[in-house]
Symmetry: C2
Subunit: 465 residues, 2 copies
């Protein structure tokens, strides 16, 4: 076999030891917060039936699903007719592939809830930290394989869940050191009331879609898009009056209540009044929780979130002073499991994007130094005699819980120090023949170059710190 | 859209909270041992190029690879000629798929080493805990998606690595409570010497393959297979003399040395003498390490291991008194990266099968009870007033690191206790109006039914234990 120069698929990544350690640090923080709030872990298969995935993410999503070829003689049912069809790939697909790769964690979660509805205990609070795959065009910060960290609770309408989501978001970010952040919150019904207040022109979806782009294309761009979608100039004017409501959380609620009344928004349940009531209830819960980070929480009426299945509160987190999209988002949905035959299951959830959190922590130099290292101590290997003599020492270091290694080959110390240095090992332990006679060791701290002679007990005490 | 009844692909599994917690317990034990021995984590992509995977696992392996359809118009290059070919699927494959799912952790590791050979520091010790996919026929204990836990070190011939693998295997099993196990060790060159001692009939591969089946088909079956493969009756007789060598580790080495000399095995480096020397060196290292579990270590001359790339020591672990195949295996290889253009990289590694470990722990009831639970305390929700009053308490429980929840809806206590019970939550905290006035709580331990009235400080102290 001729040797080949290997590569990995575009948009995928190898994670070496230092990066895995840093990613695991982030996962660990998120996992501990999720568990502290009573969320329990769920894992679903990488492979899902295409019947489960298809049609859940819009037409673009269907395109971006990775499909897996059937095993064995996959092409056995393909006919010449299939090939001469206009859209041959579309025609071939159901004949050659019935499985795909997980595209997000929400649809598999809904599938799991439906399949296990008779044994699950509701409200069901689950978190899920797993990779997903999208055949997107790879670019900076966008990968074809990436992790999502989701927490959802289904089977309750309680707004306590929304309040706890704010607490969880805040605790994760604070624990990671990302203290300068903004948790934006809005409510789909508030946006629905905006639509009503504009006089019922155009469609609600077009309105939400346009508002969602405000960050990217600015007021002018949104106005232009709305005018093109059948909204009048007067309506778009009124929209920006509503969107520019000022004040703190409580004041915005009051002002919008007044504005809705003026605009003739009907005071029924489906209207924005319910949305504002929900938000006030979330606010009250947070006060009772003695939530302290008010400066990080913002009622942002321009927050729309793209996904169509949200029906209640919606969330998004921005890390301030970092040039990066949102690191987290979520919201309440009323009918996630409807597509699988189980209507009426309300839930609320959110998701952290690990790649973006990673980039923020790196840019702001917030990774703790200790995270990167595994081995704490390398024992130098002088010769066959010293090698045998230090094995019981190595055993004792490990028994004390100190990750340690003996360089596996006797030889030049320079090479061994290089090894420790490149692997980020903080200490090198040396015992030459002289020290051996005296039952002593030299412990060298690589960061300072400091070298001290000490007994094994002292070594253990120093490394255990 | 009409509702569908969802399912998951054959051979895949959902892991609910209790199972994930137990699996994470196993992963955690393995990870801590690997790290204590200086192995650092690596993660490679799920998707690999088929050019990397194909031809590395034999013809059967190529069949069992999951292949991923190219994105977009995948069928654009398929011709009518392809369809009329005898083996149409084989002919179509390179035109419609260029990526596949990770089949094991060894080939991606070799690929990673080759791609990063200029920046890696050798010896490179990595561990990898990730799922792999095989389009095998699903059956009891065999899945299409399952995790492997590998540790390998490449770039050194030192037999210290083999000795440390025995230590790691022993520590993982002991920590998991699987104390009654046998770590079998053998050496490919010992088997090679057997082949020489039989007089050079048949082929070495046929001999190894037959010995590998001894467990399953017994002596008679192996004899029959060897006779059918060109070995004489006399040679198979001599083989079983060698295979039946008795004694402890050291005695077996001595007796085989003598047997090799009698049988005229040539005393060169490629022969079994080197294999026996290696084994003795591993034994000496273990003695210097003050290894204590000699009763768990066996020099098993019938151990062959199927994989063709092993060239030195080979390992396998059997849990005694459990009807289950090996839970771990591995060995030394001389040329893992040769297929990717980097010859001469020697390494040694081993792998744990998590599903089998899980089944053993379950069968022997060895999972610690605490593993299954996440939430420690459920606060009962009496009514709106009580709900608000206990939120600061919930905050304090969590601040003390105690995973806790408030039932999100006021209502029947029976339902709330059922929730706690089914979720495995050990404590329910209650504060009715009477207790609220007295700043007291009732803490109920579900396992005993015991209920005590206490202050918040006492609750925190009780739950922190």
């Amino acid at each position: 076999m001729s040797a080949q120069s290997p590569s990995i698929p575009r948009g995928t990544r190898d994670f070496g030891p230092a990066v895995v350690a840093r990613r695991n640090y982030i996962f660990g923080v998120i996992r501990r917060v999720f568990e502290k709030f009573g969320y329990a872990p769920l894992e679903t298969p990488t492979l899902e039936n295409l019947s489960v995935l298809t049609g859940k993410y819009g037409e673009e999503g269907d395109q971006l699903l990775f499909k897996v070829l059937n095993s064995g003689d996959f092409a056995k049912d393909v006919t010449a007719d299939d090939l001469s069809a206009d859209n041959r790939s579309k025609r071939l697909l159901p004949k050659v592939a019935e499985k795909g790769l997980r595209y997000d964690l929400t649809v598999p979660f809904a599938r799991y809830v439906v399949m296990n509805r008779n044994t699950l205990v509701f409200p069901f609070k689950r978190y899920q930290i797993q990779p997903v795959w999208r055949a997107d065009r790879p670019q900076r910060g966008r990968y074809r394989e990436f992790y999502q960290c989701d927490a959802d609770v289904v089977g309750t309408n309680s707004l306590l869940c929304e309040a706890e989501i704010v607490l969880m978001m805040s605790e994760v970010l604070t624990t990671l050191g990302l203290t300068d952040h903004t948790i934006k919150i809005n409510h789909r019904r508030v946006l629905g009331a905006f639509y009503q207040a504009l006089g019922g022109e155009g469609t609600e979806v077009d309105l939400f879609t346009a508002i969602d782009k405000l960050d990217k294309i600015g007021r002018e761009g949104v106005e232009k898009e709305l005018l093109g979608r059948g909204f009048s100039a007067e309506a778009t004017e009124r929209l920006f009056d509503l969107l520019s409501v000022g004040g703190d959380f409580e004041e915005k609620i009051e002002r919008l209540l007044a504005a809705f009344a003026t605009a003739g928004v009907e005071p029924d349940n489906a209207s924005g009044y319910k949305g504002l009531q929900d938000l006030r209830q979330v606010l009250d819960y947070l006060r009772s929780f003695e939530f302290a980070k008010w400066q990080n929480l913002e009622f942002d009426v321009t927050l729309a979130r793209g996904l169509s299945y949200y029906t209640g509160c919606i969330f998004e987190i921005k890390i301030n002073n970092v040039n990066m999209g949102s690191v987290s988002g979520g919201g309440r949905y009323d009918n996630l499991t409807g597509a699988f035959g189980l209507p009426g299951v309300s839930g609320v959830g959110f998701s952290f994007g690990v790649d973006r959190l990673y980039d923020c922590l790196e840019e702001l130099k917030l990774f703790p130094e200790a995270v990167a290292t595994t081995t704490q101590c390398l024992i130098a290997n002088f010769d066959a005699e010293s090698e045998v003599a230090v094995l019981p020492v190595l055993r004792q270091l490990r028994a004390a819980g100190i990750p340690s290694e003996l360089f596996p080959e006797a030889g030049k110390l320079k090479k061994q120090f290089q090894y420790a240095d490149q692997k980020g090992i903080p200490y090198v332990l040396l015992q030459g023949s002289e020290e051996r006679v005296a039952s002593q060791f030299k412990l060298k701290k690589l960061s300072t170059g400091e070298e001290r002679t000490m007994s094994l007990e002292e070594v253990l005490a120093e490394l255990a710190r």
